[in-house]
């Protein structure tokens, strides 16, 4: 299972769990890119069945509803769903 890495300014460990088909997820990717921060993402819908199980458990630790996109910041904070203001606020 491989996370895609997008280069940018180091603001700590920023991980985005996304779906390749979801527009809110795409907006989250675009926002992070515009902000110029380094982050990793994974499109969960493109994974194998076993990988999905593992990743879904990981996501639920941060976002019990398990919805997309889920953004985990520094293994400390999480933004569930695309909320531009909240993402900008939490990644400074």
């Amino acid at each position: 299972m491989e996370f895609q890495r997008v280069e940018g300014t180091d603001k700590g460990k920023i991980v985005l769990y996304a779906l390749s088909t979801c527009m809110w997820c795409r907006m989250a990717k675009n926002l992070l890119k515009d902000m110029g921060v380094c982050y990793e993402y994974i499109d969960v819908d493109t994974l194998s069945a076993e990988e999905k199980v593992t990743v879904k458990q990981e996501i639920k630790k941060w976002n019990p509803g398990g919805s997309y996109p889920t953004l985990v910041i520094n293994e400390k904070e999480c933004v569930s769903g695309f909320d531009e203001a909240e993402i900008r606020e939490k990644i400074k």
């Binding site: 779906l19 088909t21 795409r26 493109t46 398990g66």
Partner: protein, 178 residues
């Protein structure tokens, strides 16, 4: 458009032609597609990718299981669209919006997920009356009553229609109501 979705080879032309069809169908049923055209085209593209993957229009903003029986409630239009439009002015993905949003009086933003979390609600066998324990005994009825789970349309006939005349959901989205 062509960024990020690599698989399925859905072309822009195919997406636009489905957009035109969905737009006409939506308007004729009293629904509206999101006026943000690029956003809407992106969601329709996602649906088409899912159709190639799973064989049906699984909601682009939810993770489908790939087993149709388990995904029935999230085949677009999903069971949650109408209550979400009524409450928030938009469906979960933002593909369908209310008149207010269409008119620019209200903004479509992130809304909470209405679908029960995984494992919370097992989809019942909706086609049989015995699977609905709350039903009164109305064996005197000449015809069973069917309810479209997407839009609430009711009809009394031997079988549900192939396609809901109001919202175009397919036959398997109907449940026995009485």
């Amino acid at each position: 458009m062509s960024d990020s979705i690599g698989e399925g080879e859905v072309t822009r032309k195919e997406v636009e032609s489905l957009f035109t069809r969905l737009d006409q169908e939506a308007e004729s049923g009293g629904y509206h597609l999101n006026p943000n055209r690029e956003f809407t085209l992106g969601l329709i593209e996602g649906m088409m990718v899912n159709e190639r993957r799973y064989g049906y229009w699984a909601c682009p903003c939810r993770l489908a299981s790939g087993v149709k029986k388990e995904d029935l409630d999230i085949i677009c239009p999903c069971d949650y669209r109408d209550p979400d439009i009524a409450e928030y002015g938009t469906c979960y993905c933002g593909l369908y919006v209310s008149q207010d949003v269409l008119d620019g009086k209200r903004k479509a933003t992130r809304i909470p997920e209405r679908r029960p979390a995984e494992g919370m609600a097992a989809p019942a066998d909706r086609m049989s009356a015995s699977a609905q324990p709350g039903l009164p005994d109305l064996s005197g009825l000449t015809y069973p009553l069917w309810r479209c789970r997407v839009c609430g349309y009711l009809c009394a006939r031997g079988q549900p229609p192939e396609v809901c005349p109001i919202c175009r959901a397919k036959k398997d989205r109907f449940e026995r109501f009485l």
